[in-house]
């Protein structure tokens, strides 16, 4: 408590002498910093534009029907044609399974933290480790599933194993997003519900959750967009295949990120082109999810919120 007032008080005394110094120098300094700050922002926009531009420019070459209707089965890197059907199907299945596992756990955890935890010790510990979990490198999540699911339980590479790894990466983001939204629900709503004699769990399920629903959906969509682009854990748990495999519980499966990784490793131009188109499709899906999430958040914003 003592640190803030101290800095607050000591600064103005030093300011006094500085503020009376030469005006022109101060003005130049002010302008200089302004230019630097503008440049910093430009520095961030340059790579963004460059990445998006190169992906679009190089990816359009192979953005054709073949790409969406065929797999790479029987084709080598040199061959023209071929597509990412197997990879797109795989990614959609894996992300769906991931969401099915991660969302209930994450939403219930957030409910515990906000509605039941009351800032107790268990809630604080969980909250802390959710933060820590956010920082787990994705490759470590992959190694963990490798050690647990494949090496200890003896399962083979499969789309499901990849989903388990992605689950670990998805849980913390959804918990944080849901928690933020639940905290915004006015306490009056809960109290009104209690006053009517509604049990607590029904209050949470039918009063609190519906109120926060748009925010939670937004958070989930952003989390889905995030795990969809993860590559590293998939290399260790799903591996890759060039053929179509629609069963996520049996054998290696394709996925868009590993498709790009595999195609980029081949120095042939046909293969590189496919990698760029894969990147374009992946970015398009992710940007659509992102935009959709923001649209939902904007359109269904609770009236008079904040």
């Amino acid at each position: 408590m003592s640190a803030a007032p101290a800095t607050g008080l000591s600064k103005p005394t030093r300011t006094g002498s500085e503020l009376t110094s030469v005006s022109l120098r101060r003005k130049i300094k002010d302008r200089l910093v302004q230019v630097l700050v503008y440049m910093a922002f430009a520095l961030a926009v340059i790579p963004l534009v460059s990445v998006l531009w190169t992906v679009v420019a190089n990816g359009l070459a192979r953005l054709d029907g073949t790409f969406f209707r065929f797999s790479m089965n029987g084709l080598s890197g040199r061959d023209p044609g071929g597509g990412a059907y197997h990879a797109i199907v795989g990614t959609l299945e894996q992300v769906a399974i991931t969401s099915l596992i991660a969302v209930p756990i994450a939403v219930l955890t957030a409910i515990y933290l906000v509605e039941y935890g009351n800032g107790g010790r268990l809630a604080r510990v969980i909250s802390f480790f959710v933060d820590v979990m956010t920082g787990i490198p994705s490759i470590v999540a992959g190694l963990f599933i490798l050690a647990l699911w494949l090496l200890t339980f003896g399962f083979e590479f499969s789309g499901f194993a990849g989903s388990l790894a992605l689950t670990i990466l998805m849980i913390p983001t959804v918990v944080r997003a849901t928690e933020e939204m639940l905290k915004l629900v006015p306490a009056d709503l809960r109290e009104a519900s209690y006053a009517l004699g509604v049990p607590r769990w029904r209050t949470v399920c039918f009063v609190v959750l519906p109120t926060a629903m748009t925010g939670i959906v937004t958070g989930i969509m952003l989390a889905v967009a995030r795990v969809m682009g993860e590559t590293a854990p998939l290399l260790l748990t799903i591996f890759f295949t060039k053929a179509i495999n629609t069963n996520p519980f049996d054998g290696p499966q394709g996925s868009l990120p590993t498709f790009i990784w595999e195609q980029a490793a081949d120095p042939n131009q046909n293969s590189i082109d496919r990698a760029w188109t894969g990147a374009l499709v992946l970015i398009l899906i992710i940007m659509l999810l992102n935009l959709g999430a923001r649209m939902i958040a904007r359109l269904y914003r609770p009236a008079g919120g904040r």
Binding site: L19, Y38, G119, I136, I139, V140
Partner: protein, 326 residues
């Protein structure tokens, strides 16, 4: 009236009392509370399981290892007898992510200042979204971009730096290349920009308006206002943010794996081709790894896990300290 302040903790206490009174004998309440609590415990169990299983699967190969795990530079776990050490991986990881942090932090703070204090109010949200888009681009796309586009342009920059700053050992060496630790750290710096700038922005939002108005009222220019009221207030938050960025950079896998060319041995000349990081090495050598090899990779992943855990916890602690004197 005091209960209607909206402060979560006090309201939470009210709930607890209300809940206890009502929940007597209601099965639904007990089941639901149990499910919520159970999910929270699952999260803790996952964290514990990660540590336990990584350690368990790493022990065997570590026993067979004929080289010193911490100091050896060779990575040859598939040979008989297996010989592997993490010295080179640790060097590459720390070097690339530290460089990335040093490059990204000033720019990210500049971005945060721009959005918070310089850009027009109406555009601020949109500009913030633009920066967040950088975080939405998946790492595999950064890898592809770095490998095919950026590395081509890095060759010139690297030889320029080598010529101008070659007398510093770090930038020395005879053959500046494009698939170097330096190139990797540039890609990493771009990738961690959004997280550092978004946390810095959050911190700037919490600077008391009174501090800002006071310095402006005393006749401070915009920069003087920032230097005297914003930066001192947000210092710990910015340090925490850059440390979180450091942790991110250390764990980044695919982009580094695609950009860096593996050359065995520690090379302190960061402009020359070659180098390896924990994460990139795991992604690159997994496909050919034997059972022992996989165990060795798990052991190196365990080291990465511990390092990032320490960095992240320290960063969270630094960021959290700020909240106490708000």
């Amino acid at each position: 009236m005091t209960t209607q302040t909206g402060v979560e903790s006090s309201v939470g206490a009210e709930h607890r009392a209300a809940g206890r009174r009502m929940s007597t004998g209601r099965a639904g309440d007990r089941v639901f509370a149990g499910a919520a609590r159970g999910s929270g415990i699952i999260v803790l169990a996952i964290m514990a399981a990660i540590a336990v299983f990584l350690i368990w699967k790493a022990i065997g190969p570590l026993r067979e290892n004929q080289a010193n795990f911490l100091t050896s530079e060779t990575w040859n776990p598939n040979a008989t007898p297996p010989r592997f050490g993490i010295a080179q991986l640790a060097f590459g990881t720390v070097m690339s992510s530290l460089l990335a942090m040093l490059m990204a932090t000033p720019v990210a703070i500049g971005i945060a200042l721009f959005i918070s204090y310089y850009s027009p109010r109406r555009l601020a949200a949109g500009l913030g979204y633009l920066v967040d888009l950088l975080a939405a681009v998946p790492s595999i796309v950064y890898g592809l971009w770095g490998l095919i586009f950026l590395s081509r342009h890095m060759e010139g920059i690297s030889s320029f730096l080598n010529g101008a700053l070659g007398w510093i050992p770090l930038f020395g060496g005879d053959s500046p290349g494009k698939n170097s630790i330096f190139t990797a750290s540039v890609v990493l710096a771009i990738m961690i920009l959004p997280i550092i700038s978004s946390i810095s922005r959050e911190v700037f939002l919490q600077v008391p308006q009174a501090h800002i108005e006071a310095s402006l009222a005393l006749g401070a220019t915009r920069w003087e206002m920032i230097r005297m009221s914003v930066l001192p207030y947000g210092r710990s938050g910015m340090i925490g943010a850059s440390m979180l960025g450091l942790g991110r950079a250390m764990g980044e896998t695919i982009a580094v794996a695609m950009v860096l060319t593996f050359v065995p041995g520690i090379n302190p000349h960061i402009l020359e081709d070659g180098g390896a990081t924990f994460a990139a090495n795991i992604a690159n050598s997994f496909a050919e790894a034997t059972r022992t090899g996989q165990g060795a990779l798990i052991a190196s992943g365990l080291v990465l896990f511990v390092i990032t855990l320490i960095v992240n916890m320290a960063a969270r602690a630094v960021v959290a300290r700020r909240r106490e004197f708000v």
